[in-house]
Symmetry: C2
Subunit: 369 residues, 2 copies
Amino acid sequence: MMQIQVKIPAIAGTSYTVTIGTDLLGGIIEDVRQIYPRHRFFLITDANVLTAGLPGRLAADKSDELMSFIIEPAGEVSKHIATVTAICEIMDKNAFGRDTCILALGGGTVGDIAGFAASIFKRGVPVVQIPTTTVSQADSAVGGKTGVDSTISKNAFGTFWQPAAVFVDVSTLKTLDERQYRAGLVESVKHALIRDAKYFEYLEQNLDKILARDESILQKLAVYNCRIKAAVVEQDPKEANLRRILNYGHTIGHAVESASNFKLLHGESVAIGIVGAGIIEDKLGLVKDDRLGRIKAMLEKLGQPTSIPLYLAKQQVLTLISHDKKAAGNEIRFVLLDKIGQVHEEKGKWAVPVATELIGESIDLLFHE
Amino acid sequence: MMQIQVKIPAIAGTSYTVTIGTDLLGGIIEDVRQIYPRHRFFLITDANVLTAGLPGRLAADKSDELMSFIIEPAGEVSKHIATVTAICEIMDKNAFGRDTCILALGGGTVGDIAGFAASIFKRGVPVVQIPTTTVSQADSAVGGKTGVDSTISKNAFGTFWQPAAVFVDVSTLKTLDERQYRAGLVESVKHALIRDAKYFEYLEQNLDKILARDESILQKLAVYNCRIKAAVVEQDPKEANLRRILNYGHTIGHAVESASNFKLLHGESVAIGIVGAGIIEDKLGLVKDDRLGRIKAMLEKLGQPTSIPLYLAKQQVLTLISHDKKAAGNEIRFVLLDKIGQVHEEKGKWAVPVATELIGESIDLLFHE
């Protein structure tokens, strides 16, 4: 077991611990009781996590006492404000008060919805993030971003709400189906690309063991991911500038994900977005070596798409890109790489404007990569 | 014109200015442009404020350029999450981004809804509060509480989201009908009761001028109110303890307001709640002088109710009190006075537990005050 401290200096007195290990679930409630001895727990999870039996392992022998909300159907289709409202209404009707502690058990959707609910219930109650997927363990559980989709764009509504604690139990990854497991690994690739060339090499060298879900390697990945994420979030919790590097591959990724109506998984969409960012980097003369080949080779070994499926409409993808939250003053901004492990900076900014025509040409190419 | 600085030390770097004066509306947008030169403005107001012609005065000659959302019907009946969602969806569909600045023009409901929308749109954009009613100018516009009602309780869902700036234009109070104008003055009475005996005397001495809406007196009230509110909020922005004193009269007040299905105005309900708190104080031996007589006399001169209307059901009022957010660990807590200008403290706490039986007896009496 390994613990990493995340400090959010912009919010006085705020810090929390990320605990990484195997077979942690059964001890979490007892651990959290140390922080909140008198709070009432409320569990938020989804139908898939329930089927995998994880809520029972979390509650140990006390399932009867733990009230819960099961998000159904699981996944992005439930990630809208009506789900958040339903959760808050149920807590309110059952006389949960400010002394509520929400446990979020599941993937990114569960964490985003539960974190959002926690941030608005009685003007904010603590949430403990217990991510159970590759994508949420690598990325979304740490950092305090919460949110749901609007009718037209992803994560349009939400808050910054740091968790009270995070528990990364890599054993839970064994419950994932192969497609979901692999897609989530793209967030680990992204972390390596933006901050750590050595981590990228480590991923290249251990791909087979990673795909075999070797628990000791998975714990190492979790430590790499949490350290990178924590270091960035600590410096810029509200995404004024530096934190935007975590969106590498996400500008095109989110657009493609929405355009596919979520037939493409988040990680698959980000894989396409990473290749798209690479094409833009190439057009802008930022690529001096064969890094695009290395990156594409890794994504392909992970079984990820590296081009936009032909059934998507180019114009819709472009419209969705222009709705991206990083858009400001009609400029569309991208996070781009100078090299593996190093994001490109321009005039002190980590998300840089890219001309509309160049984006259009790159999207054309991305249909045929 | 007078400016008061509010500093929220728990949030690094957060402070904002409250500007108090007459005929301010036409200059506000220009003032805010100094802080946010490149933001797009979005106006949130309601049908009553529109009828009173205030949005036109705010927009000056540029009404066409200012996109807006009109809450309709005005008032508590629209204060639910569907309204917040509708506002956010409209902004999203019109490609408003993180560089949005929301202008909240209206009473407490408009401010609470607009502040909540600002706090969750794209994970938070600035909001400028421009309160136009006695209750919102005295209380809700400063301090950063936002929220909407659930199906069973008031302000059940919301956030703490400090405004970017507040403009208190007392000229706007001339647009209020007599009942709404008077009810809102109860929040000024509350401020005097919890923090400033001299302010209470000032109110007693100037009641006629206040009721005649004398602008120079109204500006003095605004300065008193904002100073008291700011001093409390600065010390305890998230209502861990001290800030609860601002809820004086609100525990019973909110319950009565909900039970009446909002036929009672907020200020009228708080007037009843203040008398109710007085009865509890009396039963607990906290009243040594004739302060209840003075307080009731003032409320009566303001034309406020001082007893629970007989058409309300006692049991419903008691149930709603137990849903109050100040309830914790099954204890119902009240803010109580030691004397005018001084809240009662117990073991370092400003909201103190009161036995259920004593609450029941006090509510009985409050039906027949």
